[in-house]
């Protein structure tokens, strides 16, 4: 550790010494100076922590050893230096390699450092380890995919009747997936009736309604009919206020009522057991 300032009267800020101290001791960023050809000229504690090399091991080595092999083969390190020299700075996120061979997801900024007369003195390279954030992002994406899978089940509830409860809002990607599932299920189960329940759809807008209408016309092309169920008061109000015309679609407020419609269309009837027999 460099020596600590011994008195508060020490004018810490504004001196180049204290600035050097900051760069050398900051642990969360790897702050590295490169010479104009890309050889490491200085190293800090953060760089040692993130990349694994000690200062005496790395100073004088070429900075391409931080990159994965395939990136080196594609000439990425050189390209990045050239871009930084050309544009003044270069920013990138990608996989980099530690001394022990493990990869980490890095956010890198390379800044060209020039003398007053414009000659290139070298590069400043600031690297952050964003592996955790990257993993979190990937986990989130996977989870949202899973949620999407989970939220569009299509179940057969009677011979010839399938039910598809919709939960959450319908964007075009979900519509596509929902449509595929529903239509495939209808064909698989040879069901002429499909109940689409929108009880779990919080709000409806023109786009969602459009997606619903599209799905329903695709189902009709197959030769099946859709009953839209679970139309809540708020949804009914919104539909009318938005001027969305669903008049050629059978709609019901509850799934139970929809099921009755479906059974009726299939010429089926639910009757009470005769208790006397």
């Amino acid at each position: 550790m460099p020596e600590q300032p011994n008195s508060p009267s020490n004018k810490l800020l504004g001196t180049s010494d204290s600035f050097r101290l900051l760069v050398e001791t900051v642990k969360d960023y790897a702050i590295v100076m490169l010479d104009p050809d890309g050889y490491v000229a200085s190293w800090n504690v953060g760089a040692e922590r993130i990349k694994g090399y000690r200062q005496d091991e790395i100073v004088g080595k070429h900075f391409s050893c931080f990159y994965p092999l395939d990136a080196i083969e594609r000439g990425v390190p050189q390209e990045e230096l050239e871009a930084a020299a050309r544009e003044g700075r270069f920013e990138d996120e990608g996989w980099r390699v530690r001394k022990d061979g493990k990869q980490f997801w890095a956010s890198v900024v390379i800044t060209a450092l020039r003398e007053k007369d414009g000659t290139l003195r070298g590069f400043g390279k600031v690297t952050r380890d964003l592996t955790e954030r990257k993993r979190t992002e990937e986990r989130l994406q996977q989870q949202s995919r899973e949620i999407m899978e989970l939220s569009t089940p299509v179940m057969q509830v009677w011979r010839g009747v399938v039910v598809a409860p919709l939960i959450g809002s319908l964007d075009s990607q979900r519509t596509q997936q929902f449509m595929e599932r529903l239509l495939n299920r209808i064909v698989e189960t040879n069901s002429p009736m499909a109940l689409v329940d929108i009880m779990g759809v919080p709000t409806i807008d023109t786009q969602t309604a459009q997606h619903l209408v599209e799905t329903i016309s695709a189902v009709r092309l197959l030769g099946a009919q859709v009953v839209l169920t679970g139309v809540q008061p708020a949804i009914a109000q919104t539909l009318v206020h938005l001027g969305i015309d669903l008049s050629d679609i059978t709609t019901r407020s509850s799934l139970a009522a929809g099921l009755l419609v479906a059974l009726d269309m299939l010429n089926l009837q639910v009757v009470a057991k005769d208790l006397r027999s």
């Binding site: 209808i186 695709a218 009709r220 197959l222």
Partner: protein, 126 residues
């Protein structure tokens, strides 16, 4: 595509035509003619178009089918499209291809049920 492949089968008072898997424009036109010929020769009250093997549907196909439905209707018959594949239905919807006033059914069996259950055309049903 050999046009001899297209057969128009008469079953009771209905016509059954199976559309080949990958029909070109000419095949579709020939199909339309044969269907109308058969409607004229044999007094039929309906047509079932089995499209369960069709994998790709283009705008020409869609338009010809819609026209055929109208023509058959003018000759006093109803048309049912039977067995459209899920993927075809999705594509057709996304491309905005409608099949005119064609009735649809999940398969040929249900198409016959449907036509059998409907009263003959011209009895004030439409």
């Amino acid at each position: 595509m050999a046009h001899e492949d297209i057969s128009v089968i008469r079953l009771r008072d209905l016509l059954l035509v199976t559309v080949p898997p990958d029909p070109d424009d000419q095949t579709i036109s020939v199909l339309q003619e044969r269907v109308l010929d058969a409607m004229a020769r044999q007094d039929c009250r309906g047509l079932v178009l089995d499209i369960s093997t069709v994998q790709i549907l283009d705008s020409f196909f869609a338009r010809t089918v819609a026209e055929t439905v109208q023509m058959v209707s003018l000759m006093g018959g109803r048309t049912v499209l039977a067995g459209m594949r899920a993927s075809v239905a999705i594509t057709a919807t996304q491309l905005g291809l409608t099949m005119g006033k064609a009735l649809t059914a999940l398969d040929v069996d249900r198409a016959f049920d449907l036509l059998g259950a409907l009263p003959p055309k011209g009895d004030g049903y439409e």
